[in-house]
């Protein structure tokens, strides 16, 4: 449905409610005269509105006795609430005066107020009866429990911390062991840093291999023991290894 059609349908719906402006009514009438679908929509919405109106008007079964009782109960409950607040002294001065005036001649209201007051008096008496408790001892008991809790939490924190430390130490030891192992197996005792390139030059003519270390490695690492500089090593010829030989450190 395009925008114009939607607009016309909305007008058709509102026409049934008699809420259109003069301009809108004129627009709808013009469209209805020209378009049978618009006429049909206007008729449909008018019938729908009539049905709804009739439905609202249908007599419903009302238990007037129950309704009256519900209203009575509601009023009584509100009265009781007010009297309860009055008995509590929870009403403002003005509200308390109004309540006293309103209920002064109402025996039922006064009875309610008296009974609420009596209930509160019972609760007051009941509330003042405290069990026999040595409060100092109770405080000591709770305090000791809290200290145990704090100690337990402290141990839990220590174990977490120690566990983390142990893992970290293991990683460091493993790294050191690995480093030393690799160092011992590397030519010249130096672990190559960065990428290592291996190039086979004309393997068909004698099997010559060239090894190149990355020059971006720190100088101290690249050549800590007076090793040949990378450019000196570059192009160093070596015999092609036999099957099963190793190039340590690669």
């Amino acid at each position: 449905m395009n925008r114009d059609a939607e607009q016309l349908e909305r007008l058709a719906s509102e026409a049934a409610d008699a809420t259109l402006s003069a301009a809108e009514r004129a627009q709808l009438e013009k469209a209805a005269a020209a378009d049978p679908q618009v006429r049909a929509a206007v008729g449909a919405y008018a019938r729908l509105a009539a049905r709804l109106k009739a439905w609202r008007a249908l007599p419903t079964s009302v238990d007037l006795g129950a309704a009256a009782q519900a209203i009575h109960d509601r009023i009584e409950s509100q009265t009781e609430f007010t009297m309860s607040q009055y008995a509590d002294g929870a009403l403002s001065e003005a509200d308390a005066r109004a309540a006293a005036l309103r209920f002064s001649g109402d025996a039922n209201a006064m009875r309610i107020e008296r009974e609420h007051r009596q209930v509160q008096e019972l609760l007051d008496q009941w509330g003042t009866q405290q069990p026999a408790v040595d409060w100092s001892a109770m405080q000591a008991r709770i305090s000791a429990a809290v200290r145990r809790e704090a100690a337990t939490a402290g141990r839990r924190r220590w174990f977490r911390w120690a566990g983390g430390l142990a893992v970290a130490a293991s990683v460091v030891v493993a790294a050191l062991v690995g480093f030393r192992t690799l160092r011992g197996r590397t030519p010249g005792g130096v672990l190559p840093q960065g990428p290592v390139q291996v190039r086979i030059d004309r393997p068909d003519a004698g099997g010559v291999a060239a090894v190149k270390f990355d020059e971006s490695a720190p100088e101290g690492i690249k050549n800590p023991n007076g090793l040949q500089k990378p450019e000196e090593r570059r192009g160093v010829a070596a015999k092609s290894p036999a099957r099963g030989d190793e190039y340590p450190g690669f």
Binding site: E80, S84, Q118, M138, A140, R141, E149
Partner: protein, 202 residues
């Protein structure tokens, strides 16, 4: 039995600044500060738990567990000055859970080597609060009537009408409006008026 009406309002006098200071000190590791909070709120906590549960053993257990939970979760308390209301919410929730049969997981009274003479309830038959000023029968009737109230009504009645907490504070603890507190207290009293009718004299 100990009758100490003034004691029940001890905690109400706090404006919250001391509480906030003690909470901060506790979080910094000073457990003596938490002792002050225990000292301030233990009576109210135990009293409310006792009214809700009707049994000192259970009330003591709930009270102690409430303080422990409060300590464990102290860093989650947004407004440190509202420690009292927060604790009472823990107490009431624990007490209600206790009533529903879900007991707190930790009972310090049963820990090994922890004899607790100080907090042992009096011998059965002497712990009912109704035995001095109120006859045993009436006390039992009140306890039974209070026990039979819906939870919100029972909590509102105990905190406001029995423990004397301000309606605003009860509203905060129970997370309801002041008007709702008033209505729940009223509804509770209305029920008690019917159930205790034979004890209400002309």
């Amino acid at each position: 039995m100990e009758s100490d009406p003034a004691a029940k309002l001890t905690a109400v006098s706090s404006d919250g600044s001391e509480d906030a200071s003690w909470v901060a000190s506790t979080l910094a590791g000073d457990l003596r500060a938490f002792d002050r909070l225990i000292e301030r709120y233990q009576r109210r906590a135990l009293s409310v738990a006792y009214r809700l549960l009707g049994n000192l053993d259970d009330a003591s257990e709930v009270c102690q567990e409430a303080f422990l939970r409060a300590y464990r979760s102290l860093d989650t308390l947004d407004a440190a000055g509202r420690f009292g209301a927060w604790l009472m919410r823990i107490v009431s929730n624990l007490a209600l859970n206790f009533r529903r049969g879900r007991k707190p997981t930790l009972s310090l009274f049963t820990e090994e080597g922890e004899g607790d003479e100080a907090m042992q309830p009096p011998a059965r038959g002497t712990q009912t609060p109704a035995q001095t000023a109120i006859s045993g029968e009436l006390g039992e009737a009140i306890q039974k009537a209070v026990d039979g109230l819906p939870e919100k009504q029972r909590l509102a009645l105990v905190m406001f009408a029995i423990e004397g907490m301000p309606q605003k504070e009860v509203a905060e603890i129970l997370e309801m409006s002041v008007e709702a507190v008033k209505w729940n207290v009223f509804a509770a009293r209305k029920t008690l008026r019917e159930r205790l009718a034979e004890y209400l004299t002309e």
